[in-house]
């Protein structure tokens, strides 16, 4: 009696699981590289915006550096650090990708910091803010430039928020502060551009 019930119930469930898992694995293998490509393309596009002069971006994979950056950034998560090189190959700045708390959810930002530690550009990779309200941080052309040229987390903190989108703009501000703190923690361009 014991194994009868296990087999009677087990076989159909097992068959369905196997077919489902195989099907999904196959779909995944088709779309995996496509998704990967999309993510890389989005990243490169944002980095290009924040550091226009750079030709290519070399991701930093050294765990020590990433660890220091992460610690400095506090409760903002550092998603990636890239060394930006110009045509001649010499590093001209660092691109930092962070995820900070917005109103509707996490906001993924890209911040470019040039050789002497000044913010070269800020852009929003993706966010979940409410259209029409939170999205003001993107629509309002004057907001992001306010961070350009700042070189310390304290300076970034003084930038005031937009009315009607306080939380979203506070999210962006926290992102920039974290990026600057991380930049200092990893010792600026020199500390990172190990050839």
């Amino acid at each position: 009696m014991r194994d009868n019930i296990y087999i009677r119930l087990g076989v159909p469930v097992l068959v369905v699981c196997i077919v489902a898992a195989a099907g999904l694995a196959i779909t995944w293998s088709f779309t995996a590289d496509k998704i990967e490509a999309q993510a890389r393309a989005a990243e490169q596009r944002s980095l290009k915006i924040v550091l226009p002069e750079a030709a290519d971006f070399v991701p930093v994979t050294d765990a020590g550096i990433l660890g220091k950056a992460g610690a400095a950034a506090g409760d903002v998560a550092v998603a990636g650090i890239f060394v930006a090189n110009d045509q001649s190959g010499s590093a001209l700045g660092v691109g930092i990708l962070v995820a900070s708390r917005g109103y509707g959810g996490p906001m993924h930002l890209a911040i470019g910091v040039d050789r002497n530690g000044k913010v070269a550009g800020v852009t929003i990779v993706s966010m979940a803010e409410t259209p029409g309200l939170g999205s003001k941080v993107v629509d309002d052309p004057t907001f992001l430039p306010r961070f350009f040229g700042l070189d310390s987390a304290e300076a970034a903190h003084k930038v005031d928020t937009i009315t009607g989108a306080t939380k979203s703009s506070r999210g962006v501000r926290k992102g920039v502060e974290a990026a600057l703190a991380a930049y200092k923690a990893i010792g600026g361009v020199e500390g990172v551009s190990v050839r």
């Binding site: 699981c17 489902a20 898992a21 999904l24 694995a25 779909t27 995944w28 995996a32 409760d75 903002v76 998560a77 995820a99 900070s100 708390r101 917005g102 509707g104 959810g105 996490p106 979940a128 939380k167």
Partner: protein, 206 residues
């Protein structure tokens, strides 16, 4: 901030500010379905708290124990999680019926409802894929944080349900225009209630 305030903020955030029902719109089917009398709501809220805690633990273990090491977590997490939740709900239902009929009578009939409850899957997935459900997290949860977070979400669910049921019972007696009577009035009341819950956000400065 210290770890304790971090966890407390997480709990309050999940329960009130990012209340799963009224500010993030998840699990509305049960919200409007069973909120017409207080007795059923209490039973349902208890069942949801109980099942959600167990489900989140099970899914956390399944994800970090098996899916992530095998590297299949990225595309297999939906069927895996929902399978675990469905099995867990059915098992709990049978267990309760055998060992505590009193508890089963109070809570049992709602258990099948919970399998199709979006909140359980949302909380379970959020713990392992941060920020996925627009929650304000940017880092992966440890098991302890998952339990605290799920406790917050389920208590928030119960809280929203109770406050809405009280409102609805009162609405049935109020002089409401004929075409608005019943569900439409409930929706409008829910709209106003959700404005209240969103207002809580600025209270804690989250």
């Amino acid at each position: 901030m210290s770890a304790v305030t971090q966890l407390a903020l997480l709990l309050v955030g999940a329960a009130l500010v990012n209340n799963i029902l009224l500010t993030r719109f998840i699990a509305l089917c049960s919200f409007f379905g069973i909120s017409d009398n207080m007795h059923t709501t209490i039973g349902m809220s208890l069942a949801v708290i109980f099942v959600m805690m167990m489900a989140s633990t099970a899914t956390w273990i399944a994800y970090y124990g098996m899916l992530k090491p095998l590297g299949v977590g990225e595309f297999l997490y939906i069927p895996a999680f929902i399978l675990v939740i469905a099995a867990l709900v059915q098992f709990v239902e049978m267990y309760l019926r055998k060992y505590s009929p009193a508890l089963y009578r109070a809570m049992g009939i709602y258990l099948p409802l919970i399998t199709t409850n979006c909140a359980v899957l949302a909380a379970a997935t959020e713990a392992v894929k941060p920020g996925f459900f627009k929650m304000n997290m940017v880092y992966n949860f440890t098991l302890g944080e998952t339990l605290i977070y799920t406790l917050g979400v389920s208590v928030g669910y119960g809280f929203a349900l109770l406050s809405f049921t009280a409102l609805r019972e009162r609405l049935d007696l109020a002089p409401v225009p004929r075409s608005l009577r019943g569900t439409p009035m409930a929706f409008i009341a829910a709209g106003l209630l959700s404005i209240g819950y969103i207002g809580l956000g600025s209270l804690f400065g989250l």
